[in-house]
């Protein structure tokens, strides 16, 4: 009688182990799929349009003469070349930061669903680390973000403008 009971117990144990393994595999598959499906930084047409329109905004900075004002895209190039806003007697990089903060602050207020945003202007030269020309961050993002980026071609190296927006709803 004894050997039969031991065999029965062994069979039950193997059965339980099999069930546990099956459940674990199912949970692992579920976790892998859910992690893959959650977009960290999804590209959005809405943000792409926002960024593109921001680049066309006329600023108050005239590098050469008034009224030859730079738009934001030109102001980024001027900042990269370390130029000065002659009419304001101010470095273009300082004025770029001021302008971008103003724009992003006002645009953020037009959409209640925007919880936080981050805008960065980088110079990505080949073979060297990216240099940050401007960086604005407002609020903290806890959920996934949507974003867009635009490349501005300059004399030496590309300038990347990256906008990430955190939607609270």
């Amino acid at each position: 009688m004894k050997p039969i009971n031991t065999k029965k117990g062994q069979q039950e144990m193997i059965g339980f182990v099999l069930i546990v393994v099956l459940v674990m595999v199912a949970i692992m598959i579920f976790i892998v799929i859910s992690v893959r499906k959650t977009p960290e930084d999804r590209q959005s047409l809405e943000i792409e349009n926002m960024l593109s329109v921001m680049m066309k905004q006329t600023t108050g900075c005239a590098i050469v003469f008034e009224p030859e004002y730079d738009n934001v895209e030109d102001l980024i190039k001027s900042c990269y070349l370390d130029k000065k806003c002659e009419n304001l007697n101010k470095p273009s990089c300082d004025y770029l930061n001021e302008t971008l903060s103003g724009i992003i602050g006002d645009l953020g207020q037009t959409d209640n669903s925007i919880g936080a945003y981050e805008l960065s202007v980088l110079n990505e030269a080949e073979g060297s680390a990216a240099i940050r020309l401007a960086y604005i961050r407002v609020g903290n993002c806890t959920t996934s973000t949507i974003g867009a980026q635009k490349t501005i071609v300059s004399d030496s190296g590309n300038l990347i403008v990256r906008l990430r927006v955190c939607k609270s709803v």
């Binding site: 059965g15 579920f30 047409l45 809405e46 926002m50 329109v53 066309k56």
Partner: protein, 155 residues
């Protein structure tokens, strides 16, 4: 007795996996619905570019998402009613959002229809200005909002 135990076990495992499957399917459906909503919104925003690129409104045939302020003011001054059959939408509104001090709403076209869903996207609003003997473009940021009529719900 042994067969009964085995049958119970099989049923328990089956119920467990069925529950897991139901949970997984409901999660997938929710994700699918959210993706569908996002895609619908992206499609609506793409359609807005068609309106903003109309020669009656755009500032430059080469630039997309750019409205001519003078043109939209002319269209807003009751002129757009002549286009009432031409507009494929229920309403066209433009908001000047930056600089904030210049906030303004310009109603280009409004058919007066109710039960309308509005879609909007950012656009440039440009106008020609003259200063120191030069003519230059001054562009600000605005929002183009288009109302799409929703189908009536039959009670």
């Amino acid at each position: 007795m042994k067969i009964q135990q085995m049958a119970f076990m099989i049923i328990a495992i089956f119920i467990f996996f069925a529950l897991v499957a139901v949970f997984f399917l409901s999660w997938q459906t929710r994700s699918l619905k959210s993706d569908f909503g996002a895609m619908q919104k992206e499609q609506a925003i793409s359609s807005l570019a068609v309106i903003s690129d109309m020669p009656e409104l755009n500032c430059d045939s080469k630039t997309s998402l750019c409205l001519d302020e003078d043109k939209i003011r002319v269209m807003a001054s009751n002129y757009s009613q002549r286009y009432s059959e031409f507009w494929p939408v229920a309403s066209v509104k433009v908001y000047k959002v930056y600089p904030k001090e210049q906030f303004e709403q310009i109603v280009v076209f409004d058919s007066g229809q109710t039960n309308v869903e509005e879609y909007s996207t950012f656009v440039s609003i440009c106008k020609k200005l003259k200063g120191s003997g030069y003519v230059y473009d001054s562009c600000n940021i605005g929002k183009l909002s288009v109302g799409v009529k929703l189908p009536e719900v039959v009670k």
